[in-house]
Symmetry: C2
Subunit: 220 residues, 2 copies
């Protein structure tokens, strides 16, 4: 069985390799895992010996087939646990990440399957992050963001990329949660601002940076 540390390393390699399609840098990993770079080198060498990652010294690391399988299983646990905490225990979605960080290493496949059934086999977690299937498939659909979509158009929020408690609280306050409908009123590149009109309630203004963290789907 993989230790907690191993599971965390693999999970973060997976998360960091989304987007930047090739190798994950050691520094990025060190940052994400909150350890010093030397520790990452040590650990990655061990994981490479176990056949879980492929390490190209001085360049970076990528998951092997086995490593990816394990990483997806950890991610599945994380996201299903988050969904449970929000949907069943009604916890604040800005706090569940921390909790899931611990629980993802303690939960068995059997419990996970039952949780999955209890929740109705959700496709995404409360932040809109896709939940890998038991077979290790994960949706990789590409969406636009509030910083890039066409203006004067109705869109539906599908995912919040930035998941710091502060940002999530901000988003919740304005009901910017997956499923929410919005009209994109204006985007001003000079001022770096986007203006939105929710279906109900008053207009929302936010920076392009923030807007770039919110994935949306054109509606109709």
């Amino acid at each position: 069985m993989a230790t907690m540390a191993v599971e965390n390393y693999l999970k973060h390699v997976l998360l960091l390799s989304e987007g930047g399609d090739g190798l994950v840098s050691m520094g990025a990993l060190a940052g994400a895992l909150e350890v010093v770079p030397g520790t990452v080198t040590t650990m990655i060498k061990a994981l490479a010996d176990e056949g879980l990652v492929e390490h190209q010294p001085r360049h970076g690391v990528r998951l092997t087939h086995d490593g990816r399988r394990l990483a997806l299983s950890v991610l599945r646990k994380h996201r299903l646990v988050e969904t449970f905490l929000v949907n069943v225990l009604k916890m604040d979605w800005s706090k569940v990440h921390e909790e899931a960080e611990q629980l993802e290493h303690a939960i068995s496949d059997e419990v996970l399957d039952r949780l999955d059934a209890l929740l109705g086999h959700p496709a995404t977690d409360p932040h809109g992050d896709p939940i890998p299937t038991r077979q290790g498939k994960i949706s990789s659909q590409v969406y636009g963001t509030l910083a890039t979509c066409v203006v004067e158009r109705d869109v539906r929020v599908v995912r919040i990329l930035e998941q710091s408690p502060e940002f999530l609280q901000f988003a919740e306050h304005h009901r910017l949660q997956p499923g929410a409908m919005l009209h994109v009123v204006d985007r001003n590149l000079t001022a770096g601002m986007v203006t939105l009109k929710p279906g109900t309630g008053r207009a929302i203004a936010m920076s392009l940076t923030a807007a770039g963290k919110i994935l949306v789907q054109p509606e109709r």
Copy 2:
């Protein structure tokens, strides 16, 4: 924060000190924790330095106030998680111990409180073991066993002490679960057998040893 190992040592000191009212022997701890005796000595010395246990060399160990507080909190997590797994996820009660063993170290107080509320603040877990309150109170009511109670009398099962998967499966098969009503038909000391008649279904015979693991309450 206490590590998993620390939590486990404290929990087992607590469990082993139920009944044998004074000191817990190092050997008993080694057995319960499945480590060699030398390891226990090492760890207990460390816990004594932290003020969590009181160690009387060559005689045994007992919890301090702080140690007991922590141990009760772990036990509360364990038993509430078991209750959740059985009552909500409908898992087999013979398997939940293993699962809870892991989860008890990963669950936060906040999640625990919500779980407790979801379950309706249960007083006991599915095996009838009392669940410590958030304030660290634990019911220590004394019950008779099927091996000691008066014959020709109706009793109600309140707790199963032996919790190996095999014994629990045996108990479940005969519906010997907390809440079940029984008539104690006969006890034969020579043969070492007890005969029971459930409210519904055919008579059950079991050894005195097995009967001694089932706590009951006289009914009416």
